[in-house]
Assembly symmetry: C2
Homo-oligomer: 83 residues x 2
């Protein structure tokens, strides 16, 4: 069953890479919601803590990478948003 | 520790609601990446299966709601994307 977890981890982690790339490339953050990005970032940090506590390799792997993607999207949103 | 999981579940689940709302309201899907949305949707389905298999209440709760949000974003992207 850890395999299903790892495939899930791969997909939800990898899912953010095209978004990070597209946002970095186009600097278009208009349709990204800031409440979404910030809540998501904090949520991922907590999932990482939870994953460590229940000793789930899939969750630890997924969330330690996703936290970086989530952080970058928050950063892009702050940087490129119309003031 | 299940509390940390539930807060994480709440945040990452709730994070998608402003995004779903904003996308529904503005019909602006230009800065949402389709590869992201589709991979994310499949990933969430697998996390749900994994959560059931490791018997994690937080994961089951979070992913059964998030799967609906993810599905709606895929649907909006298909519906509102420039053809």
């Amino acid at each position: 069953m850890e395999i299903v977890g790892f495939v899930a981890a791969f997909l939800t982690t990898a899912a953010f890479l095209p978004q990070v790339y597209q946002t970095w490339k186009t600097k278009d953050v208009s349709s990204l919601s800031m409440p979404m990005l910030s809540m998501f970032f904090v949520g991922i940090v907590l999932w990482l803590i939870y994953g460590i506590s229940i000793d789930s390799p899939s969750m630890i792997a997924a969330n330690s990478i996703t936290v970086v993607s989530a952080f970058m999207l928050v950063y892009f949103k702050l940087k490129y948003a119309k003031r």
